[in-house]
Symmetry: C2
Amino acid sequence: MSLRHAVLGLLTVQPSTGYELTQRFDKSLANAWHASHSQIYPELAKLQDEGMVEVVGEGARRSRTWAVTDAGRDELRRFMTEAEPVRSQRNETAVRWFLVDLLEPADKRKALERELAFCEAELERLTAIAAAIDASEGPKRFRGTVDLGLRMTGVMRDWLQEQLSRA
Amino acid sequence: MSLRHAVLGLLTVQPSTGYELTQRFDKSLANAWHASHSQIYPELAKLQDEGMVEVVGEGARRSRTWAVTDAGRDELRRFMTEAEPVRSQRNETAVRWFLVDLLEPADKRKALERELAFCEAELERLTAIAAAIDASEGPKRFRGTVDLGLRMTGVMRDWLQEQLSRA
DNA sequence: GCCATCATGTAATTAGTTACATGATTAG
DNA sequence: CTAATCATGTAACTAATTACATGATGGC
């Protein structure tokens, strides 16, 4: 189960409230993992029971800021270095791209155009994130990951354009 | 829900038994969707109830070959052309690559090397599939999808090598 | 005062995994 | 004849989504 490790990882980068975590899942981990608040709050409670996270601050609207404990850091390290990676994916976009070959030309073109628009938007989104990191002070962590996303999305865009020009 | 559309798609390409479908999920859709037999058999039954698949042959070991009906083809087309794509992913490997920046150098190098080995293996797997398609007669469907996989995995390998050389 | 958004939670349902179970066929 | 693999199914459990529910705060 990877939800808890994603939570531990995000909280290691930066202590957050449950609400902020839900947003960070869709920003930082948009291409990796999705979790909604109804999953995150119970998971934080479970992690707290197990001593892996703790409340380090309370703010307005009875919000609580969570941080990783030493036990949590140990568990995250164990996951990253010792646990056997689970490689299976669940990616509806990839299913669609696989199945696009089954469509007749007109439908295929329309589908490819929609996907192309998605890639362009994603490139823009990642470019903005990269610029923000570059403009910031400090260690520029995750700049590499953003760069990987940019390269992958670039490959996808090129591929879609080729498919379109042939369709 | 994408399982049923993956099933309809795979059966559109080639009628199969449930057993064959489980294998095709891990071969053709390895980088898109995973489903185990305990999910596939009930889904075939449900699709049959809804008139979207039918038994077109029976073989040894009481195996049954399933094919898509017109209603199934309609549903697949509707999914591909009209349904709003769900973009969220669930990809533990991507989570790991994101979190690798949190590790100290020695752990990081070890983690990157493991991922690099995975990419090399994946490149080999895809190269073999591409060669098989190229050697075959007929329309060479999905050759493009395999090529996309090769390009993406190539980008990943290069990125991992760069990260390693800097770690 | 009221609307948007921040913020947290639970309940009901659906999807997916792991474990259990069984029988048929083929290769050695 | 027996072990491996083919082939199908169900049961128990865990994970995830969708829907329901409530209250706080800040901007207008």
